[in-house]
Every structure is written in structure tokens, then in C-alpha cells.
Symmetry: C2
Subunit: 323 residues, 2 copies
DNA sequence: CTGAAAGCGCTTACAG
DNA sequence: CTGAAAGCGCTTACAG
């Protein structure tokens, strides 16, 4: 690989001059600058970023920690992130949680985003710093140089339930996701609180335990069918489970939405292709990614006025899996 | 950020000893090694990878160039790649084509994979080298230190058409994707050749021009409907177009597969959720990613016996959008 | 077993 | 305008 030395030798100047010429600094005559640039191009010279960074510190690269390659729900978010990063003249690298320590610690990145539950709170807390601000998508976490942008699950559920109440539903079931997750907790709380505000009690046996997978939704619905206890509306903590629920009902000849309404959360791509199309809560994924990335750049540009934990508002997509 | 110097000072040893101790070299007494390691941990010291790489060259990191975040067809491939990379003890970074030059040229990676049409052949040809082998997913390209792993489109089409002929179909239409792409060319050629081998002429007006989008498939089918010229089977160059085709037929009250069979290519997630489920050609995406990555590691481990352009075999998924 | 020194490829005051 | 030199944080012969 050709280095700055090689170029300097060929151009018969010092390496300082090569560096100065190539970086557009003023202290080099126009004539030599031109010559140097030409020779560099001719020799196919590209500065070694790593050596450069060792001095300069700012790398103009940010990282996204992500490894859930099996859930395409996320890709729209990544697109938003990437577009924002490019717009700001930075480069984005995506790396899996296995590698994140290496990249967080090595001074190669100016900032990071985390969309990966496998990254521990401890790691984030211990590495976030003035030189490495971190933006989180998948959790809220208090700490210096740590920022969160999460979906407002509670508000979304509030909106949904109020909408359903207005439509006259009085009898609700909830298919929950993995128990301790923030998403599940907030979504369920939003449902329960809102019902109770309207004096509709949520009967605890109508809480079905799932784990965010299609299969667990399928099993929950099977249970409803077998125990012959099917509510007017089944609200699921995510779309995948709603898909499973619908599948079980269809198999049993139970009509959606005539006999039962089914509602999801996330608005994954499949949601609008299903028969019937799934009513769900749409998180504006592209905007989410873009917004979170923009916060990182606000911080990097030292405009960090007062960035509080941020909430993204989700919207209900009424489709025909519900009345 | 704490450096090797800080650790050395605190431990009262030279930086050489710190380096040796931390890298598990033999030339340091067990006692001091232990002390150094402890102090390093205590100080929260992590070696700066960039500085290290400046000397060592091997970074144990490979890159995947990818930016089609809107096509979730690819994510299964990435999963395969990532699993293989982790298995080999390397780290993977994914970067968009905007950034690829930066990463290819800067000595930060030991090898690269390309799954991004936006990367030019020129860039690949000019950067692939002994120190930076490159594996391609999306094209075949002759060159030193360049390897390709692509889907055998032709063979897949051959299999499909032979299957269809055996089922008795005699009348075919093809909805093509973007004209000049290797995928489209090979898929169409596979169809045409195989038909002709069985003495079935492919009528050129039965070639409909699309661009791999759902919309273009929809429009192609509209055209068939309006001109009242619907073949027994519509083979599409990818699933997205097949989805569009099915949509148009459904809207027109044309039954699938009773009135017409529709077939796709790719086996995207949606394919098996559609009504009717889409018959398509399934490229084993996970294996594809894994296999291509493994080739990169074969090269990196200098086992490059004789790695020729590699073809991945795709399989037909007979579902009920065809008879 | 231990440490001083050279060097990886750059940038950046600084002196001339 | 130009170049010698120091230094970024490491590793690795080499001498002791």
C-alpha cells in the first residue's frame, strides 16, 4: 500500500507538504500543490485513516450496534439512520453486539447508537463519554452522554383503546410479549389504565402470556378457542403474535372481524398483506431512525441544549381485522 | 482515554511489559503479568485498536458493503454472513456504498464482501489485493483476489420450466425485471432455452417489461387483462412483481390458480403469507451468506486452493398460486 | 525477565 | 512556502 512517504519521495517534497497539499491547507504553493495532487492520484494514494485518526481523533464515523438480522421490522429504522448519517457527512458502520466493545473502545468512532438488547446497560454506562455519546433505541437509561429515543407505547395504547371504546368494544383480551420487557409492560399498562379510566375492568384471566413470536400468539388463541372464551377484541403486544392469533382463528373457522377483532403493534410489512389486513399501531420507523441519529449529531456538534429522553409518537392504522 | 503509558506508569514497568503481559507473551514473569492485568482492568484500559493495527496489519475485521435497507430479502443473507464471521473469530462491519472507499482503502479491514450494486466494478478491481480479498454476491467479475458467489439463475429456471412442462403447461408469459441486469438476463434465458428444448416456442410478445417492483408487475398484469391475453402461467423475474401480478388478477376477478398460475423468484417472506401462497424459487439465503463468507476466510487463511466462481443452487417451492 | 528504541502512517506546531 | 521533528498509541526485535 502506497504511503505518504512514497508520494513525498516521488514528488521530491517533504511529507509535510504532501499532507498540507492533500488536506487543502494554505501553506503550500499552488504549483507544488497541483503537482502533489497529480502524483498522488497517479500513484493511487489514499491516506490511511487509522494513522490519521491516531492524531486527529475525530473520525467522522458513527456506529450502530445491531444484530437482529432476523427481524426485518428494524430495517426501516436503519434506513432512516443511514440517510441522516450520510446527510451529515459521516459514515455509518453497523456491527453486531459481539463486536461492539471493540469498536466502542478503540477510538474509531465519534458516537454510537444501540438497537440491540444484547448490549448490557453496564457496557453503555461505562463507555458513554464526552468523546463517545451514545443514543439508545431500545431502552431508557439515565446517564451522562446517554440519550434515548423510544416509542411512546403508553400513549399509543391509550389512543387505541380510546378508539376501541368509542367503537363500542367492552370486552378485551391482551396477548402479552416477553414479560419483563419495557415494551410489553408499557403496552399492557396503557391498555389497562385506559380501560379503567372508562370504568371497564380488565379481567386478569384475559391476559395471555406470549413471547412476541407468531407461535406464541397461535397458542394463545388456541387456548381461547379451547376454553371457549373469546373476547370481542384481542389486542396483541406485537404484530407477529397477532398473525399467530389470526391463523388459529382462521383454522377454527372463526371469522375476523365478524366474530372477533384482532389488533397488533408495530405495523410490520406483512400487516397490510394479511387477509384480512391487520389493524395495528404503526411506529414511524424511518422517522424514528432519522430523528435518533439527528440527536446524535446535535450532541456531536455541541448543540446539546437540553435533550431529554425522547418519545416517538405512533399512529393507529385501522384496517379490516377490526370493526 | 487511558493509554498503555498510563498503565505502565501506574504499574511501574515499561510499556513493553504491559504490552507483552496483556498479549499473553511468555517473556514476562507471572507475578508482574498478574499485577499488570489487574491494574489494567482497574484503570478500565482497552488497547486502541487503531494504533495496534498500524503495526500489526491484521485487524480481524471484515466488511460487508450493503445499503439496500429497503429490501428485506437480503437480511437472511446477512445473518448467514454474520454467523460465519463470528464463528471465525472475526468482527463484521456493514457499511453503505457511500463509505466503502474509506473502509476499503484504510487498512482497517482484512477482507470485504459486496452486496451492493452501487459499488462499481472499477472500485472492486482497483482495491482487491493480496491484503484485501473481496467476495461478491451480486455479480461475477474476473480479477485477482476477487471471488463471486452467485445464485444459479439459469439452472433454477431450467428446473422450474421442466417442472411446469411436466405438469402440462404449454403457454407461458414472462414478466421481466430491469433489463440489463444479470439476474433478469439469466432468468429469462433459462426459461426460453428450456422451453425451446421441449419444442415450445416462447412468443416474444409474452415478454412483459418490469423493473422488479410490485407496481411494475401490477401494470404488466393490467396490460394482459386489457389486451385479453392471459397465458396459462405467468413466470415473474422476482416475487415482488408476482405480488403485483396477483393483485391485478384478483382485482379483475381472475382466479389463481384456476384461471392462471403465477410464479415468482426469490421466496421473500411475504411469499408464503399471500393468498394463495406464492409458488416461487427459493434461494437459500442463509446458506448463501454463510458460504460466501466461508470462502473469504478460506482465502484469508491462505487455503485458496482453487476457488472458482461459485454458484448457489436454488430450489422450487411449489405452493398454490400454481396448479 | 525487563526496558529503551524504532517504527507503523499520518498531522501539526515550529523554525527557517 | 518548505521541511525537520515530535507525537498519536501501539508492537516487536534487540540488548542487557
Amino acid at each position: 500500500m502506497v504511503s505518504i512517504k512514497d508520494v513525498a519521495k516521488k514528488a521530491n517534497v517533504s511529507i509535510s507538504s504532501v499532507s498540507n497539499a492533500l488536506n487543502g491547507r494554505a501553506n503550500v504553493s499552488e504549483k507544488t500543490r497541483k503537482r502533489i495532487i497529480e502524483i498522488a492520484k497517479e500513484m493511487n494514494y489514499y491516506p490511511n485513516t487509522m494513522a490519521r485518526n491516531l492524531k486527529v481523533k475525530r473520525t467522522k464515523t458513527v456506529a450502530l450496534c445491531f444484530s437482529q438480522f432476523d427481524r426485518n421490522f428494524y430495517f426501516e429504522i436503519i434506513k432512516g439512520i443511514n440517510d441522516c448519517v450520510v446527510h451529515n457527512g459521516y459514515d455509518l458502520i453497523i456491527c453486531a453486539h459481539h463486536s461492539i466493545e471493540k469498536f466502542l473502545r478503540n477510538g474509531f468512532i465519534d458516537g454510537a447508537m444501540v438497537l440491540d438488547k444484547n448490549v448490557t446497560d453496564e457496557l453503555i454506562l461505562s463507555t458513554a463519554s464526552e468523546e463517545l455519546p451514545i443514543v439508545l433505541f431500545d431502552r431508557e437509561l439515565e446517564g451522562e452522554n446517554i440519550y434515548s429515543v423510544v416509542v411512546d407505547n403508553y400513549l399509543a395504547m391509550e389512543d387505541l383503546i380510546n378508539g376501541l371504546i368509542k367503537k363500542g368494544y367492552t370486552n378485551y383480551s391482551f396477548v402479552g410479549g416477553v414479560e419483563h420487557t419495557q415494551d410489553n409492560i408499557e403496552r399492557f399498562k396503557g391498555l389497562k389504565d385506559t380501560l379503567e379510566k372508562s370504568n371497564i375492568e380488565f379481567i386478569s384471566k384475559n391476559y395471555y402470556h406470549g413471547d412476541f413470536t407468531e407461535k406464541s400468539g397461535y397458542q394463545a388463541a388456541k387456548l381461547m378457542i379451547i376454553s371457549n372464551d373469546i373476547s370481542e377484541v384481542i389486542v396483541c403486544a406485537n404484530d407477529n403474535m397477532a398473525i399467530g392469533v389470526m391463523k388459529a382463528f382462521k383454522e377454527a373457522g372463526i371469522r375476523i372481524p365478524e366474530d372477533v377483532s384482532v389488533i397488533g403493534f408495530d405495523d410490520i410489512e406483512l400487516a397490510s398483506y394479511l387477509e384480512p389486513h391487520l389493524t395495528t399501531i404503526s411506529t414511524p420507523k424511518y422517522e424514528w431512525g432519522m430523528y435518533a441519529a439527528s440527536i446524535l449529531f446535535q450532541v456531536l456538534d455541541e448543540e446539546k441544549t437540553n435533550i431529554k429522553p425522547n418519545k416517538i409518537k405512533a399512529n393507529i392504522k385501522w384496517r379490516n381485522s377490526s370493526r
